[in-house]
């Protein structure tokens, strides 16, 4: 096996990343020029969505980004000439449809390319290959189990019913269950009455998925290992649970809530990757008038008498606004950007208890050609979507076993996508880029650290791939490993947790990120949160950014009304 040693090249971000954005050096100096209506800390996708909504509402908005380009974890980098890597986040599904319309993203180049296949190689050289023809899929599953071929339709229908029932919760500000405000009680009653109307079977499935394990749920339908392995894979992504852990059902459900082009659980690859997508957001935000400054790490939020008044950069520059929004994760939002002593102690305690265990890594490859799967030959056709290396539930559970005891999976789960088969602009003709999402790779290793283990992880992944695609190593032109530690260092997500907080039931909805603080506000007046650590959560949904903007605008309208009332009085 020959492996090209990764060469470090100056990363170039997605085309036009800096277009329209001001870098620190050109920032203006007078205080008036540095005063805004709203400042958003962090130019990840939620920060951009939030800033765009605020700017659209007419607020003079500034988005401050630490790095030399926006996008956060949703970036695409040319790490090798002609080869574009989706360094971290790599596909779209859960993006809220109203964001596409409200922010007029199609005008700015929004282009979600269809991922048309699902390819799941098995351990015995066989495979499961699903596509866009329902009848063909049934026959393909029947090849493995006639029972499961029938069960698959029932399962899909049941999941869709649950998704349709749950979806409104995804798109609402969680009601404050600790409040006696009639508006909150009404919202709560609304949820109650919605569930009351549900069919018995649907409600039971909702509860089973929200609280139980994916394995228990899937075992009721399916008998075949390969089919179960594929379906169970979405119950573990980004989360420190195995398919047999209680709670994995929730992760499974979450990943099925995506409704790309109206199909639950369907995924797309944005033109030029998720970096291409955040560039679209950046253009939209700027078209609405938002300003973006790059290379400007924020040190802290400036507060005065319990009210946010601006932000201070690490270099001492200050920007002023009476609305400041943090798109960073809850730890950074509450424990780093502000002095925790300005916050109620129970909030600090809850944030400290908020689990953000990074569990996932990325290993990205530049390839000299398409990998060879012996049973299907060296063709691109079966690679036009995700390739799922998780051939059975046992395989996934064993991969988790390693993580439970502080080590990375020796036979990891891999969600791979050869994105150049979908978007030819990602690699030179005949060459390919391949994104591999790896699990489990716990942030805290028992007897080593990620600086030591980084390339060993790369080797483990490559060895695993070699099992399925003989000769894979010969295709590798370059390899980039991104461990949880790299994610934390580069993107800023604490412990490299891709969802900015685990998808555990006690960390969702009413409780995300902390009981009493799930409505995007903070105890500091004018200081808001809009990152994936808030409801609905991680993945490229934009939901937190959008819902937070709604709250901010509502509050501003109220305080404006109050101010007007006071001035009249």
């Amino acid at each position: 096996m020959t492996t090209t040693i990764p060469t470090k090249q100056t990363p170039k971000s997605t085309n036009g990343a800096r277009a329209g954005a001001t870098s620190r050096s050109t920032a203006r100096n007078s205080r008036a020029d540095r005063t805004y209506d709203a400042i958003v800390v962090g130019g990840g996708h939620n920060g951009l969505v939030n800033g765009a909504y605020l700017a659209k509402a007419g607020l003079k908005t500034l988005i401050i980004e630490r790095r030399e380009f926006v996008g956060g974890a949703a970036i695409t980098e040319e790490l090798r000439p002609g080869f574009w890597f989706t360094t971290f986040s790599y596909a779209l599904s859960l993006l809220r449809p109203d964001i596409i319309h409200d922010l007029e993203l199609t005008k700015h180049g929004f282009m979600p390319l269809l991922m048309s296949t699902l390819f799941a190689p098995g351990e015995n050289g066989d495979y499961l290959l699903l596509g866009q023809d329902h009848g063909q899929n049934v026959k393909e599953i029947a090849r493995h189990s006639k029972h499961d071929a029938d069960a698959y339709d029932q399962y899909s229908h049941d999941i869709e019913m649950v998704c349709q029932a749950i979806k409104p919760l995804f798109d609402m500000v969680p009601p404050d269950i600790f409040s006696n405000d009639p508006e909150e009680l009404l919202a709560l009653a609304g949820i109650g009455s919605r569930f009351k109307k549900l069919d018995k079977r649907v409600l039971m499935n909702v509860v089973r998925l929200l609280t139980g394990s994916a394995a228990d749920f899937l075992d009721d339908y399916f008998e075949n290992d390969l089919v179960k392995g594929y379906l169970a894979s979405s119950s573990i992504i980004g989360t420190k649970v195995g398919p047999r852990s209680q709670g994995s059902g929730l992760v499974l459900l979450y990943h099925n809530l995506g409704e790309h082009d109206g199909v639950f659980g369907s995924w797309a690859f944005h033109k030029r990757g998720n970096g291409g997508f955040t560039q679209v957001l950046s253009r939209a935000a700027q078209a609405f008038g938002a300003e973006i400054v790059l290379e400007s790490p924020v040190d802290s939020i400036i507060t005065k008498n319990g009210q946010a008044t601006g932000v201070a950069l690490k270099d001492g520059t200050e920007y002023y606004a009476d609305t400041v929004v943090s798109s960073l994760d809850p730890r950074r939002t509450f424990l780093e950007l502000v002095n925790p002593r300005e916050l109620p102690d129970d909030l600090v305690e809850n944030i400290q208890r908020f689990r953000v265990q990074g569990t996932s890594s990325k290993v990205n490859f530049a390839l000299d050609g398409i990998p060879n799967f012996p049973a299907l030959g060296q063709k691109v056709d079966h690679f036009r979507g995700f390739t799922n290396i998780g051939p059975s539930m046992d395989y996934l559970e064993r991969a988790y076993d390693d993580a439970k005891y502080g080590w990375y999976s020796q036979n990891p789960y891999i969600d791979m996508a050869i994105q150049s088969t979908i978007d030819a602009d990602m690699a030179p003709p005949g060459k390919h880029v391949m994104s591999c999402f790896i699990q489990y790779t716990p942030y805290k290793l028992r007897e080593s650290d990620w600086d030591t283990e980084k390339e060993n992880l790369g080797d483990t992944v490559q060895r695993t791939l070699e099992n399925y695609f003989p000769g894979f190593g010969n295709l590798v032109l370059q390899r980039e490993v991104r461990t949880p530690l790299d994610i934390e260092r580069t993107v800023g997500l604490s412990e490299g947790n891709i969802f900015a907080g685990e998808f555990f039931a006690p960390q969702m909805f009413f409780f995300r990120p902390a009981p009493g603080w799930s409505q995007y506000r903070t105890p500091i007046d004018g200081y808001y949160q809009c990152g994936s650590g808030t409801h609905p959560g991680g993945c490229v949904t934009g939901g937190p950014g959008k819902l937070a903007a709604g709250q901010i605008l509502k509050d501003r309208a109220k305080s404006g009304a109050k101010a007007r009332a006071t001035s009249r009085a």
């Binding site: 979600p112 390319l113 596509g131 082009d261 060459k431």
Partner: protein, 399 residues
């Protein structure tokens, strides 16, 4: 016996679904892969190759060719010098559209006219004293459409002469040693070209072209993807969005070019002294403002669409498959104000869209109409905004 296109040997080998339509008595791939949406995206994001050989093609030659055509075609052919092409239509005496087509001015006194239906008798019967020869060359020429953002870069490697041609320009060159004509035309509303090939060279040219595009994300695409592309592009389809006046039973099934949104073809009519079939009626229609309809795009209000389905307890379907039938349009008082003829969910625009005709007073951009659909087997109205065609119009198309 159903006929086969000159490229059939290749398209047949690529057609994994073996789904074929009969287009002008010829087998035409419906879709090559299971997913027509994949083929559609290949065109919008890289390039797609389409076999449009079944189109009718007429070669019109002779020293009076221009004079002859300028009396038949409604759009002024005299503004189309050699090396250019024109989208045009021809009318009956009442100013109703018989057909539309693209005409290439391939050389001095030589034109190539395409049409969806046979028109040889119609054209020949009107030659009169003109020195003109009209031949049906439908079987002598194969046509390949290469459409999409990569089309120019891919084609110029083989036919350098085409690199600089403008929108609706025509160039000649060779592919693999065989003479071809390249026109910057197509039915996708994107950057794109059509290559006109002598039938005996068809397979050789296909192979040379196909091999040269390896690794560039090019897919062959079929009629299903083409249908999606042309609706976004606001390109009308005969027998879907309008009918030929020659075979219509009454005027409800006839349309004037103004009603079809082709008024732009006649913007210089005052300065144009040609007599042509239908001219008087056309002038009367413009002067008296008697057009019955305005051809427009519709963009459905997505929230209203979702609301109607969610209220019915259903997942709002976002199916890209075009539905070509009459969809009634109403105003808020439930008065009928038009009808849509091509309807689909556009993945590029992320909205349901339609090609529709509305009462001329509702033709203003942003006018609101309601489109009728059925949900749970009952009629429901969904709000839609009137928009200009094309609904999807990338700069690269004409740049």
């Amino acid at each position: 016996m159903i006929r086969k296109s000159p490229f059939h040997e290749r398209t047949n080998a690529l057609n994994e679904t073996q789904l074929w339509s009969h287009w002008s008595g010829t087998l035409a791939a419906n879709r090559y892969q299971v997913s027509d949406k994949m083929e559609y995206f290949a065109v919008r994001n890289a390039a797609g190759l389409f076999d449009s050989s079944p189109l009718y093609k007429y070669r019109i030659t002779g020293k009076d060719a221009e004079a002859f055509l300028s009396g038949i075609l409604a759009r002024d052919i005299r503004t189309c010098p050699p090396g250019q092409a024109q989208y045009t239509c021809w009318l009956d005496d009442n100013g109703y559209v018989i057909e539309d087509g693209v005409i290439l001015h391939t050389a001095k006194d030589e034109y190539l006219l395409t049409s969806a239906e046979p028109n040889l008798a119609y054209l020949q019967d009107r030659i009169g004293r003109h020195d003109v020869t009209i031949e049906d060359v439908s079987d002598e020429l194969g046509t390949l459409a290469l459409q999409g953002p990569r089309s120019r870069d891919l084609l110029k490697k083989l036919v350098p002469q085409m690199e600089k041609i403008p929108y609706f320009g025509v160039a000649k060159g060779e592919i693999g040693g065989a003479g071809v004509t390249v026109s910057r035309t197509g039915y996708s509303g994107d950057l794109g070209y059509e290559v006109w090939i002598d039938t005996p060279d068809a397979l050789h040219v296909w192979d040379t072209l196909w091999d040269s595009m390896d690794g560039h994300g090019v897919l062959p695409f079929g009629l299903a993807a083409l249908e999606m592309l042309r609706i976004e592009a606001g390109l009308l389809l005969m027998e879907a969005d309008f009918d030929s006046s020659r075979y219509a039973w009454n005027d409800a099934h006839r349309s004037t070019p103004i009603e079809l949104g082709w008024g732009w073809m006649f913007k210089d009519l005052k300065a144009d002294d040609r007599p042509f079939i239908g001219r008087k009626a056309l002038e009367r229609e413009v002067a008296d403002k008697t057009s019955r309809w305005a051809m427009r795009g519709l963009i459905l209000d997505w929230q209203d669409y979702d609301r109607v389905y969610n209220n019915a307890g259903l997942v709002p379907p976002k199916d890209h498959t075009p539905v070509l039938e009459d969809w009634m349009l109403y105003d808020d008082e439930y008065k009928r104000v038009g009808y849509a003829t091509s309807f689909m969910y556009s993945p590029m625009l992320q909205r349901h869209i339609a090609i529709a005709r509305v009462r001329p007073d509702l033709g203003k951009l942003g006018s609101k109409v309601n489109i009728e659909t059925t949900v749970n087997h009952q009629y429901e109205l969904v709000a839609a905004n009137v928009a200009r065609l094309p609904l999807y119009n990338p700069e690269r198309k004409t740049a």
